[in-house]
């Protein structure tokens, strides 16, 4: 929609009246629901087909390390794998409950585009939803508590992303601590400390995206002998919890809260639980992406992190603005920054803000997995004209 509305003329497409382009959110949500329910059907079919798996619908709770209550039923189990995931973390904002708010779940079920929205949280959920709704036509205010959006990402890239979002019309405040919320005449208000000032914001809806925490409530962890720490389940390298017959994986363990981590953990937890194979997880190289446009994707250490760990580093930067392919597709914003050891050139980190960053990053991922060097990226022949040439250019620029 964004492309059609704002760039049709630039690409030589006639007949589009930007003023008339509108989002039919109900239709978009229905399309999403069709895709998701197709995925669910596939999952249920695979489960049904699998004779060794009994699918039980209900809330599980431990009554002992070997006994579970699932709603009314009792199950006796030798071993357990916890794959309970995370939910939005509670936040200490006065009046938030009375004000009423959406989480990511409800925000994917709206059928009308809200006129205005305040997004609380400058992490990936906040940033993705802020841009999505802004592009649907909502007037969005994004309040992030950290000094930068995506605070753990390479600062140059996260600042550039904030600039790009602002240029799209999103009001972005960082270092903004939300103190109070409530009902306004129309919609809701929040009061936040922004720098040294207290500011009031109003919008039709609030979206809470201020972090997630393990879904431990009502699980009866004490009866199981599983000790949580800091809101998450403590699991060792083999994903075993403090209870000898219980393993835990994915978001529930905190840290890298991504689907690709949970799907990686799954078989390892099973191998260890069922066959006692003692496999350890290897989180040396775990990439991550924020699905904004341009997309932010990264792996490994930022420059500052690498230096803080005592590495002598060199960095290489290349910009999409110089890429013919980026010009052709009209997406020239963004840059790539690579971090490598000064001596050997071993890659320590890759950071990409740009078109298809989520795909491009894998070149760095695979290289890093084999402790590869920037030289292999710089010297290997890359197809022209591709965005991958920008990765090569960043590797050639390392110094």
């Amino acid at each position: 929609m964004h492309l059609v509305q704002h760039r049709a003329a630039e690409f030589g497409v006639r007949g589009v009246d930007p003023q008339a382009v509108r989002m039919n959110l109900g239709a978009a949500v229905a399309r999403k629901d069709t895709i998701v329910s197709g995925i669910h059907q596939g999952i249920y079919q695979a489960l049904e087909y699998n004779q060794a798996i009994t699918f039980i619908h209900g809330h599980a709770e431990f009554t002992s390390p070997h006994d579970l209550r699932v709603d009314g039923r009792q199950l006796q189990v030798e071993k357990v794998i916890l794959a309970i995931g995370a939910r939005p973390a509670p936040v200490p904002i006065d009046g938030l409950e009375q004000a009423g708010y959406l989480t990511n779940k409800e925000a994917l079920r709206l059928t009308e585009v809200p006129a205005s929205m305040i997004v609380i949280g400058g992490g990936y959920v906040g940033v993705e939803f802020a841009q999505m709704y802004a592009r649907f036509g909502t007037q969005v205010t994004l309040l992030g508590r950290a000094p930068r959006l995506m605070r753990k990402e390479e600062p140059e890239l996260s600042e550039l992303l904030a600039e790009i979002l602002r240029a799209e019309g999103i009001t972005v405040h960082t270092g903004a601590e939300v103190l109070r919320a409530g009902r306004a005449v129309e919609g809701r208000f929040v009061e936040a400390r922004v720098g040294d000032e207290r500011q009031r914001f109003e919008a039709e809806v609030l979206l809470l995206a201020a972090g997630r925490t393990a879904r431990l409530d009502g699980l009866g962890l004490e009866q199981a002998g599983v000790e949580p720490a800091g809101g998450y389940i403590q699991a060792d390298e083999q994903l075993r919890t403090t209870a000898p017959n219980i393993w835990s994986l994915g978001d529930a363990n905190g840290g890298l809260m991504f689907t690709h981590r949970a799907t990686y953990d799954g078989p390892i937890a099973a191998l260890n639980a069922v066959k006692d194979l003692g496999r350890s997880v290897d989180y040396r190289v775990v990439p991550r992406a924020v699905f904004t446009e341009p997309t932010l994707a990264s792996v490994g250490l930022t420059e500052a992190e690498a230096r803080a760990r005592g590495h002598e580093v060199k960095v290489g930067v290349a910009r999409f603005a110089h890429s013919g392919r980026a010009k052709a597709i009209g997406q020239t914003e963004g840059m790539i920054k690579l971090v490598a050891r000064a001596g050997s050139g071993e890659l320590l980190g890759g950071h990409i803000l740009g078109p298809h960053a989520d795909i491009l990053i894998h070149e760095v991922v695979v290289a890093m997995y084999d402790r590869g060097t920037s030289q292999s990226l710089a010297r290997s022949i890359h197809i022209h004209p591709t965005l991958s040439e920008v990765v090569k250019a960043a590797a050639k620029a390392l110094r």
Partner: protein, 40 residues
């Protein structure tokens, strides 16, 4: 009372591959989900 070798609590992104792998390894698995499969 039903008895299982392994219970996997949560049929989300990690629970599903865990349950399938455990089944492949010969375990009799109960996969428990309170909401919808797929997670989050």
């Amino acid at each position: 009372m039903k008895h299982y070798d392994l219970a996997v609590i949560g049929a989300g992104q990690g629970g599903l591959p865990a349950a399938h792998m455990a089944a492949r390894l010969g375990a009799n698995v109960a996969l428990i989900e309170m909401d919808e499969v797929g997670g989050t």
